[in-house]
Symmetry: C2
């Protein structure tokens, strides 16, 4: 049996993930002060890894430092959604096009698995998770580390916006599951076939679709 190399986990990375999830989940409402001692106490660690996590999150736009070093959960409004989707429309078509040029087998297989999971997503949360993972997967399939860094800036912003708007997608989620799966499916097909022009367009259209869906909620 092949021994897999053990992955080294640092508290800081773990905390980054946990905080990220907690913020998106709405555990910390917009404007909440995230004091380091408070988080450290709750997490049962010292301030050092918490601090590192907050710095990391600040570069992803999930927390903001004020002029005195205190970090808070940013408060997203209507124009933030426009901003976020605008940036995603700049990043994601590029990622899709690069992925189509690259055609990395492993990445494509991962997208394939994701697509399968999307098609049978049972809950709204599950669908949202699949959708997020698909878009992240496309960026990863692009093979550009730098694009991956840019992606982190917007990766969870729409989720955060939805949480803060409290307009959970629950209501219209079932009816978008099939269209989501369909869009992802044809985009993946374009990537797999290496048609970068088409991949670019499809990614753009897919985002425009989301834009239409989310616009009324704003």
């Amino acid at each position: 049996m092949p021994l897999n190399p053990v992955r080294r986990v640092s508290l800081a990375h773990d905390i980054t993930d946990q905080l990220s999830r907690a913020i998106v989940a709405g555990d910390f409402p917009a404007g909440t002060l995230l004091s380091e001692p408070m988080l450290a106490r709750r997490l049962g660690v010292s301030r050092a890894p918490v601090r590192e996590a907050l710095i990391e999150l600040s570069t992803r736009g999930m927390v903001e430092f004020d002029d005195r070093g205190r970090s808070r959960v940013p408060s997203l409004g209507h124009d933030d959604l426009v901003d976020i989707l605008g940036i995603r429309m700049a990043i994601e078509p590029l990622a899709a096009a690069l992925a189509a040029r690259r055609r990395d087998g492993a990445a494509l297989a991962e997208l394939e698995r994701n697509l399968a999971a999307t098609r049978v997503a049972a809950s709204a949360a599950e669908l949202a998770a699949c959708d997020g993972a698909f878009h992240s997967g496309v960026v990863r399939a692009s093979g550009s580390r730098r694009l991956g860094l840019c992606w982190k800036v917007v990766e969870h912003q729409v989720d955060l916006w939805l949480t803060q708007m409290q307009s959970r997608v629950e209501s219209f989620c079932e009816k978008v599951r099939d269209t989501t799966a369909a869009s992802h499916g044809i985009l993946l097909e374009a990537i797999r076939s290496g048609d970068h022009r088409r991949a670019d367009t499809l990614a753009r259209d897919h985002l425009a679709e989301w834009q239409r869906i989310l616009a009324p909620a704003a």
Copy 2:
């Protein structure tokens, strides 16, 4: 006389800037191990702010953490330039278009001043500094904090690439000064007049110009 609020400078931010400049300046060749104790000793501070600076720089693609937490200066090759310019062609036209929609007076004035400085730039280094500041200024003028975060990922990458390629722009710098100033000038004019369509195109063209200039050097 209006007393300006004193800006609190943290060692970490200061170190981030210093390291960034040092890396771009080529003080640390590609692949150099940036050990925290070494940097702390040289800077006369403890490891804590150095660590924070390295984390910040890693999100900007100026240092890379390997699987064991050691940070090194990334080694940029030919395809990195393609990657970088590709991302910039996604980000900057958007920034220019947003800036044109926004037309922020202060930001425009800053760009104006920068343009004036560009026109009289005497040395290659000075021109490079002006050019960098102009592009950063456009992103700032877009008013999007998130776009600003993305921008940081590519902000100094071309400079780093040039440093590592050792093909200093010295040679053909004088002759690009005027074309740079001209390109910036018409872009700024488009932004000021609020023509976002044109601003988008001009930003793209300006980058394509750079692409043509840098391609042979690769």
